[in-house]
Amino acid sequence: MSTLHQGSQQRWVGVKKEIRAFLFVLPTLGVYSIFVLYPVLRTFGLSLYDWDGISRLKTFVGLGNYLELFFHDPIFHTALRNNVLWILITLFVPMILGLILAAVLAGQVRGKLLLAAVFFVPVTVAPIAAGIAWEMIYHPSVGLLNQVLRGVGLGRLATPWLGNPGWALYALVQVGNWTYYGFCLLVFFNAIQLLDRQLYDAAQIDGANRMQLFWHVTIPLLQNSITFVVVYSIIAALKAFAIVFVLTGGGPYHRTELMATYLYNVMFVEQRLGYGASIAATLAVLAFIASFVVFRIREREATQ
């Protein structure tokens, strides 16, 4: 056999091997493409039309939906603002508390695993069930919160939390946070476990107290975990839906509306699917942008 022939035979074997390798990921990519990639693209396409979802008539409006959404839709503005608030609160409360608690727990040994487990339990609770559990706390008359307030003489402060336009959103975010603390604690707790004890010992020899240890040793070493939790928190906050949907339905007067709940409204109540798609597309784009921006910032910080 000539070497030329042998060469092409080997290449063919190589190609067959590559095809076989590709076959392993083909089913995964297939299902993913059909049920995730294609729908994402189709959402963007759909957002350029005006359509009620039923009739055959689809009117091309170009960016008209987006113009309306961003400039003429006060409900969407509220929803967007609420989502941003939700994100910010989720970043500041569960994440920071989780970080601090993880650092605290890293010290003591007794019962810390149990405590971490207790915190994690709410993470396993479906948001809709969490919403209903917290109804028992926020209920105007029999709810725990108001009963406690009345009990300690602060009955003045008792209010229908979920019906109060000023407080409702914060009440809802708290429910969301409740299902999230454990996750943050878990991530940071685990990350701290993996840190090298010697760094702490060295710093302690230099006379650092616990606060300084936390600021100057723990936090810098946890950069990766912090980045991860920030991105995860943003995406999780953008996905918030069930808690608001069950407890307030976006009310009172759309004050607790989120992009996802507004999307539901636009789809089912107003039956404007093109417009709904523009909300959906905005949601997706925000998730992507937020993730990339955070990564970029952290990357730059890390290399400095």
Binding site: Y32, T43, I128, L144, A280
Partner: protein, 254 residues
């Protein structure tokens, strides 16, 4: 931290009158009848069955596809694999509401609305990014030498996968299964839109319907809520390390 859950369980075992006595008071007698009511009249018997079918189906498919895919991405070489993996990871950022409209119409055209498959397939699609990522992590921890050894023994890639790598990635499979089951069981938005009829409903949306119905009282609703959260809670208690390992993306040592 656990107080809301305790209150929920306590309320679910009260009589309707007791609810108004005070949330922190414990029930006089445990009203297990609430659970029976929720199961029968509340329709939860059906809902739980549906959730079980959909969640199990999703988990089985995700585990199979993610194992194969994760193996392919970690141990095998083919053109464009980095790009494809990155493309897959983008799916981690996609919220269900963002793609629900096209999914609805795709499923309608496939005549899969109101069916378990209509709920399973999109969830598999959405679960694969994380699943493949997780399995790839676990496979990477297994030495490449095992691959060479298997190939020398005459196994093809599939043989190596089945006989060598898969058994070693057991922890990863359990972790993935447990976490995916939780995500599936707790999923709300997808069944809300895709499953219109009452009999096809999952337990999360069933709970919502119960809540919105005028006949249900807080005691019944609480019982329903407990039924929704209990399976996952039990799963967590039994398989804690697998659970947390799965949620951490396989980075948990040991």
């Amino acid at each position: 931290m656990l107080l809301p859950i305790v209150i929920l369980i306590s309320t679910s075992l009260k009589t309707d009158v007791e609810v108004y006595d005070g949330v922190l008071k414990l029930p006089l007698k445990l009203q297990w009848v609430n659970y029976i009511n929720v199961w029968n009249d509340g329709g939860f018997g059906t809902y739980i069955k549906n959730s079980a079918i959909v969640s199990t189906g999703t988990v089985v498919l995700v585990v199979i596809l993610a194992s194969l895919g994760g193996f392919g991405f970690s141990k095998l070489r083919f053109r464009g694999q980095s790009f494809m993996f990155l493309l897959l990871l983008l799916g981690l950022m996609v919220p269900v509401p963002a793609i629900i409209i096209p999914i609805y119409y795709s499923l309608r055209d496939m005549r899969l609305l109101n069916t378990p498959w209509g709920l399973i397939l999109p969830q598999v699609g959405l679960g694969l990014p994380f699943g493949a990522f997780l399995m790839r992590q676990f496979f990477r921890d297994i030495p490449d030498e095992l691959m060479d050894a298997a190939m020398i023994d005459g196994c093809g890639e599939l043989g190596a996968f089945w006989h060598v790598f898969l058994p070693n990635a057991r922890k990863g499979i359990v972790s993935l299964a447990v976490v995916q089951f939780m995500f599936s069981w707790n999923e709300y938005f997808l069944p809300l839109i895709i499953s219109q009829s009452d009999t096809a409903q999952t337990v999360t949306v069933g709970l919502y319907r119960l809540y919105k119905s005028y006949v249900a009282s807080y005691t019944t609703i609480s019982a329903g809520a407990v039924m929704v959260l209990l399976p996952i809670l039990v799963l967590y208690i039994l398989l804690q390390r697998r659970f947390t390992g799965g949620m951490l993306g396989g980075s948990l040592k040991g």
